[in-house]
Subunit: 541 residues, 2 copies
Amino acid sequence: QHRCFSSASTLVQRNPSFSTLNFDDISYFKGLLGEKSVIQDEDRLETVNTDWMHKYKGSSKLLLLPRSTEEVAQILRYCNSRCLAVVPQGGNTGLVGGSVPVFDEVIVNVSSMNNIISFDKVSGILVCEAGCILENLISFLDNQGFIMPLDLGAKGSCQIGGNVSTNAGGLRLVRYGSLHENVLGLEAVLANGDVLDMLGTLRKDNTGYDLKHLFIGSEGSLGIVTKVSILTPPKLSSVNIAFLACNDYSSCQVLSASKISFLGINYAKLMQNNSSAYHFLSSVHQKLLMEAKRKLGEILSAFEFLDTEAMNLVLHQFDGVRNPLPASMHNFYILIETTGSDESYNRYLFSAISANNIYIEFINHKNSCREKLEAFLLSSMEDGLISDGVLAQDINQASSFWRIREGVPEALMKAGAVYKYDLSLPVEKMYDLVDDMRIRLGDMAKVVGYGHLGDGNLHLNVSAPEYDDKILEQIEPYVYEWTSKHRGSISAEHGLGLMKANKIYYSKSAETVQTMASIKKLLDPNGILNPYKVLPHSLNS
Amino acid sequence: QHRCFSSASTLVQRNPSFSTLNFDDISYFKGLLGEKSVIQDEDRLETVNTDWMHKYKGSSKLLLLPRSTEEVAQILRYCNSRCLAVVPQGGNTGLVGGSVPVFDEVIVNVSSMNNIISFDKVSGILVCEAGCILENLISFLDNQGFIMPLDLGAKGSCQIGGNVSTNAGGLRLVRYGSLHENVLGLEAVLANGDVLDMLGTLRKDNTGYDLKHLFIGSEGSLGIVTKVSILTPPKLSSVNIAFLACNDYSSCQVLSASKISFLGINYAKLMQNNSSAYHFLSSVHQKLLMEAKRKLGEILSAFEFLDTEAMNLVLHQFDGVRNPLPASMHNFYILIETTGSDESYNRYLFSAISANNIYIEFINHKNSCREKLEAFLLSSMEDGLISDGVLAQDINQASSFWRIREGVPEALMKAGAVYKYDLSLPVEKMYDLVDDMRIRLGDMAKVVGYGHLGDGNLHLNVSAPEYDDKILEQIEPYVYEWTSKHRGSISAEHGLGLMKANKIYYSKSAETVQTMASIKKLLDPNGILNPYKVLPHSLNS
Ligand SMILES: Cc1cc2nc3c(=O)[nH]c(=O)nc-3n(C[C@H](O)[C@H](O)[C@H](O)COP(=O)(O)OP(=O)(O)OC[C@H]3O[C@@H](n4cnc5c(N)ncnc54)[C@H](O)[C@@H]3O)c2cc1C
Ligand SMILES: Cc1cc2nc3c(=O)[nH]c(=O)nc-3n(C[C@H](O)[C@H](O)[C@H](O)COP(=O)(O)OP(=O)(O)OC[C@H]3O[C@@H](n4cnc5c(N)ncnc54)[C@H](O)[C@@H]3O)c2cc1C
């Protein structure tokens, strides 16, 4: 039995050392968890066997819903002894085929473990079960005057356990850092059922090897995460958002070239004539980012971009979404968010220097974070870095700006088949790849670029009416080779899953991958946890 | 052969499976590295056999100074095949006996590998060899308009490889995060000589397990770090420092109790009468920190504290150091630093709203970060959280404030014998331990508390004219038990080294420690790297 998902590289053979489920297994699980938590219903299984993109599909016959760490431990202990393969599944929003079975693996979902265990208002440390949905945690913290250090488009479904297991990045990483920083501790169950209690709640703890980092981003292949302790920053009062269009004053050809490409006219020739213009453009981008980091320094909380293709897609796919800069189309759109502690500052300033009345009057009616952003925008415009821009006037407008950026993945899904690549690249090289892909693909497909510019993270998406091996051949391995040549990462934040398990060598050295495989073998000797994923199939026993 | 360092728990037996150096070994190393890099000189060996505190002393006969990763690899390959034990040593400023041999281990120091490999001004990513001294990196970056995300008192000697290997925290962690966040990649040589190239230079990379985290904080027991890639923040123009004294308005008994203790009068009785006052005091502390985090939010870059004992010690031990708040002695002193991007803001504000002249005049002559701090201080004083405070007027005064805080460890060394404990504790409990220790020790020794309040990190130090087992018996295991009971960490930032290898269970579960030991065994099967350190001796083969 073998499966192939749209590309020869994901051809996998079922590991014959895994058992298949039998009646006794089902009885055991029913005895352990109760009937209601042992799901064999076909419709429900259909859903959990299929990934968010409808690209990967397994044929699991069993979904288990444990309610406690002890139940998770018992499930794994049993599966390990029986050599039954297991897929840990969270909100099933992963984008690399990691969260669904490849064959008949048992699906374990901790969605019933969704309690908040504790929250400390002094330190901002939240401890919760792994099945908590990200959006619920965000709302809970909002009431306490705190925020989650991560936010992403899938927040309504994804679980914190899934976020940790994929080391999700998202929209706020540029400000609050990655989960390797913010996750203070976790509890995980190993393949043999042993529970590792690493659920520290301390900002600093240098007692031995910091094993939790192994589980952050290991995509369910080393253990099931059952509890998480996370440092949350205080909610600051002044959030401002600007939506900008990137300048192209040096070259109106650049702008028109981009438009022509969108209309399906051969791009390759134009590009050859305009490559220097393009180079300039990317350096403008880069300069804008540098300026933002320096001038907005500590208040910068997001620096996202989308290109004109992405913008058009969102405008076409969603009713009611409008271009905030409708005068003309631009090559690039940038969303900048700043977050600061302004209001209290103003208030205290009042009490601070009450001798100088005029001064206080003015200050008190202004918002210095907002002004900082305004000033940055004006100066960037003067310097020719941006060609147009608007500052959100209220929370509704702010959400509408975010809606555009966050709507891109969904719009791509609506538009048909989509090949998704999530790459880390040096900022100055990043957009060259989008251009190169447009040349390669010509009329075959639309190439869309967007992502987390502030982190050097490009989401390169190729959109076509339907999946087609000819398109795929033009993309892979080209995109991986390109990325590797520029010392980038072939997965900035989505992980490797099934899609890229065999591609790891594009970003990691042979010795490093070998060491990963040894660690996998050490912690999961039978390889029952999320088989066929993350590491090359040749290394998975 | 066995060694015992001031406490029964550090009684160790030389591992008989290790070889002893012979003439052939020396010839091999001379052939490999050249005469000059193979040190057998007695004076130099004396230095590198002794730790910074003069508390731990080994008897190594050999110091090796490799100049390249390849040389490090060859050294380890050879030592591994010969079963020669090795101690990786950096600047030898570690405080837990981890950087010196216990017996006759070969010392390997990468101090000759001190080149900066690359620096990218757009991204702020620095790549350098592990032997670079922290202070040199700080100066290099300063010229480029950037800063190191970590800073600590030992910067003049410690190496970045040593910082990474101890996961050093230091003075800026509250703002810039830990090395788990800022180290983007590293190169390490395993015990068998294999080189792991994990030297990524990307903000985000989710391709497989992030193995670099295993080496961050592993204290030389899993590999020798040879290169480091690190994300450095831009230098911001507005740095402001305040030196505060903590309020005690609720209870002048509290103040006097502390003074009396310093004069050697029995503290225990006073404490019993005043425990509620003390509780209040710690909640005031805590409130100040919460307020600072919220009101200074994004600009807070250090929140350090020292108690009156620590202040007195510094004032006594160093000529020329003066108390910035000389009017009277206070219980606690707090150093708050803010770092922001002010100047450019003001400049741009000028060009932004040039219509309103009065406003611009005022803004342009003010420094809003400084005002924010001023306002915070005034309101904290009004609220009774602090009793006195001063803002540094220039860079000299700023350094003099830092000199006091950074001078504490050195002053303690000058004062005689010192027992050092580096603990993470919930902020609200933190100072109770100092009080408890004073009660336990009475007149036997002075108890000094200082540290990184912003991170919940207490440096508890017991100072006595000389080392005395009676004192030690009063401290250990009490301090570890106390910390464990409050779910703290017995090593917030210094690591475990030799001093606390056997104490790990106070902070980590048995299963977790067992997993650490399995990973040690996997990566260093002969246990040649920094033996007797980090993990309990019973687990080290
Ligand atoms: C619209 C949209 C936007 C997105 N935006 C971003 C983004 O900005 N940044 C980003 O990084 N990602 C993004 N993603 C992908 C991202 O990986 C997921 O949204 C999220 O982190 C996965 O969480 P989940 O609970 O859905 O996990 P799943 O998809 O269910 O699982 C993902 C992986 O984690 C494992 N796993 C899940 N739960 C556990 C557990 N408790 N223990 C052990 N292993 C577990 C699974 O086995 C699988 O390998 C986006 C996805 C969508 C659909
Ligand atoms: C005055 C003073 C102030 C300090 N302040 C702080 C502070 O604020 N915060 C803090 O966290 N620490 C502090 N420390 C202790 C801190 O651990 C060290 O200063 C520093 O991080 C160690 O670096 P080093 O190069 O001196 O390493 P060493 O002391 O030489 O070694 C420390 C450990 O790392 C290992 N090691 C060293 N280099 C390598 C390498 N290249 N590869 C593998 N292993 C290696 C050693 O084997 C040893 O186990 C302070 C120390 C002093 C003396």
